[in-house]
């Protein structure tokens, strides 16, 4: 007879102690909680210090993309799976560009203003789709940026095909790195805190069972609007930042790769944790830069990687690592 075995997973003792009892009694328990949170921050910080100028620039872009990925995951954990994240990015990018170019506002005004304005415009554009769920929502969000791109192409508003250039730059590379890196950690940790708060639980509940939310007397469309506003403001910040970083804004802000990258990063990293996309994006960002020589082949590579991960390791890297960190695995006989 074939001996049948199954994998048993048990939480480590230290996890049980630190998880919900909250009575940290030793340095070991404190470090068990703190190391996974502080170590990446420190590592990334030193990484930025040591790499060459070229890779510093790559890292700035990676940080911005990471923020996009985190925002995508936030929306996905609210049940709003967007396939058109470029829309939010572009709204921020164009608002910053337009404010800077036509109104002559300085960077420290346009950056926060574009964040808000971009969030408001994106929420208004996505509003008609908010009553849809799941796949229907994704379909509509996929269409909107691609069509808006055509609109700008056709009507030649805000720069048309050439875009707006000669915008004011950010003050130096060091401050760009500082801004983007700080923004990344702030977004990550505040969103993580937010979705575990009482108010944030409603957002997560939208994914799990939105009719239960509605039955509790809460207006789900209103909460979805809030979620979209938060998510799209974050992306609008990315757009505004990149506009000033490149000193120009163009139709590439609507490009498909901007919509795909957050999805790819989240799928690789693991969904629903917000830290997963960070992990995925920090891997994919430099990787895609290294593949830049291949031209359009890059996007093929992305997409293929996406398929491989979603079929092969559907839970994502972060969930895998976390399981190893928190649980003991062993084979036991099936009786």
């Amino acid at each position: 007879m074939i001996e049948k075995r199954r994998k048993e997973r048990i939480d480590r003792g230290i996890k049980a102690c630190t998880d919900d009892i909250f009575c940290l009694s030793s340095l070991r328990e404190i470090s068990y909680l703190l190391v996974p949170r502080i170590l990446p921050v420190v590592l990334v910080f030193f990484l930025v210090l040591v790499v060459s100028l070229y890779w510093k620039k790559v890292l700035v872009i990676t940080f911005v993309m990471t923020i996009m990925a985190i925002s995508w995951d936030f929306l996905a954990s609210c049940g709003l799976i967007s396939l058109g994240h470029a829309l939010f990015f572009a709204m921020g990018a164009y608002s910053a560009g337009a404010m800077n170019h036509y109104l002559g506002l300085p960077v420290y005004v346009t950056l926060p203003a574009a964040t808000l304005l971009g969030g408001v415009i994106s929420s208004m554009l996505v509003f008609p789709a908010l009553r849809l769920r799941g796949i229907y929502f994704s379909v509509v969000t996929l269409i909107i940026p691609l069509m808006l791109m055509r609109v700008i192409e056709a009507t030649k508003i805000i720069g048309g095909t050439e875009g707006i250039s000669a915008l004011s730059p950010l003050p130096g590379l060091a401050s760009s790195i500082a801004i983007s890196m700080t923004a990344m950690w702030v977004v990550l940790f505040s969103l993580r805190r937010f979705i575990t708060s009482d108010y944030g639980l409603i957002f997560v509940a939208l994914l799990d069972n939105d009719r239960a939310v509605e039955a509790s007397g809460l207006n789900i469309v209103w909460f979805k609007i809030q979620a979209i506003f938060i998510g799209s403001s974050i992306c609008a910040f990315c757009g505004a930042f990149m506009t000033h970083y490149y000193m120009s804004v163009g139709m590439s802000a609507f490009a498909l790769d901007l919509s795909i990258f957050p999805v790819a990063a989240t799928v690789v990293g693991g969904m629903g944790t917000l830290a997963g996309p960070l992990l995925g994006a920090l891997i994919l960002g430099p990787l895609s830069e290294a593949l830049r020589g291949f031209g359009t082949f890059r996007i093929v590579f992305y997409a293929a990687l996406l398929v491989v991960f979603i079929v092969g390791l559907p839970e994502g890297l972060f969930h895998y690592v976390r399981r190893k960190y928190e649980q003991i695995e062993r084979w036991v006989e099936v009786k």
Binding site: G134, V139, V140, A154, I220, F297, I299
Partner: protein, 286 residues
């Protein structure tokens, strides 16, 4: 104008039909639709021009190959992800991108990638000159719609398609294998898509961007019509078709996309489930 609007609408309906059928039956939103469309065109071109296979034969081969690719995609990738809507969408979308961008890498661009018309020349209908190709499209489109209607309503296979579309658990309990039906529906959808490509592409050149365009248009049509309703697709393509032609005639031909987008958003605001989407209204949409 009326005639051109009519033809334009039927072209849209042909494009969207494959997507709508697949989605309506198996619930898989095939985002690789645009890629299959271009692939169908390219394969026909390849067989016709490079290998010198007769037109009809190469068209049949192309349709078959695309259908098989659809089936393989379901059998080896999607079947592991059934029920995880997000994963399905991402997978099909990613496969679509892989196909399209690979075609781009191999340099599918320019005027030589062009299917000849079936029969050159033009004819006069209600005082307008219309190319024979367009007339063929209309005829084939109408024929296809009728065949599909007959197939879905009067054959055993078609009836089991509808059964699975309505409720796959019940379908399973009366002896229909939903897995098999899903594979067939994906094959059928891909084949229809390739068929549409072969009919429509002689009007222009084959290009990679066409793939994204077709995906956009079919999605727009399906959203307006209601994603799982074939009648809705038909009506919606007439709405969009005429809106496009009217905008092009009276305002500006570059504004057609704006009109379509505005049309879509308005309809979503008024009736989120689309004009004819009734089926899963309570389940899927709020």
């Amino acid at each position: 104008m009326l005639v051109y609007g009519f033809i334009n609408s039927l072209i849209l309906a042909l494009m969207a039909l494959g997507f709508s059928i697949t989605f309506g039956i198996s619930g898989v939103a095939n985002f690789a639709h645009g890629a299959f469309y271009v692939l169908g065109g390219i394969l026909t071109w390849l067989f016709l021009m490079k290998f010198g296979v007769p037109y009809i034969l190469s068209a049949i081969i192309a349709v078959a190959v695309v259908g098989i690719i659809g089936a393989l995609m379901y059998r080896f990738l999607l079947v592991r992800l059934r029920g995880l809507v997000l994963s399905e969408v991402i997978t099909t979308f990613a496969i679509g991108i892989v196909i399209l961008e690979l075609l781009r890498v191999f340099g599918v661009m320019g005027f030589q990638y062009r299917l000849p018309s079936f029969i050159p020349g033009s004819a006069e209908i209600f005082g307008t000159y219309v190319g024979i190709q367009r007339i063929i499209i209309v005829a084939a489109g109408a024929l296809l719609m009728l065949t599909m209607h007959f197939f879905v309503h009067h054959t055993k296979m078609g009836l089991s398609f509808r059964g699975v579309a309505q409720d796959d658990h019940t379908a399973l309990s009366v002896g229909i294998n939903p897995e098999r039906i899903s594979i067939f529906s994906l094959t059928l959808g891909s084949m229809l898509c390739a068929f549409a490509a072969i009919l429509i592409l002689p009007l222009g050149t084959i290009s990679v961007d066409e793939g994204y365009d077709v995906l956009l248009k079919s999605l727009a049509v399906c959203i307006i019509g209601g994603l799982e309703s074939t009648l809705g697709v038909f009506i919606a393509s007439f709405i969009i078709g005429y809106v496009e032609v009217l905008t092009a005639m009276y305002i500006s031909s570059s504004l057609t996309m704006v009109a379509v987008l505005a049309c879509m958003l308005t309809i979503l605001l008024i009736k989120p489930s689309g004009l004819f989407g009734k089926y899963k209204e309570i389940e899927e949409r709020i």
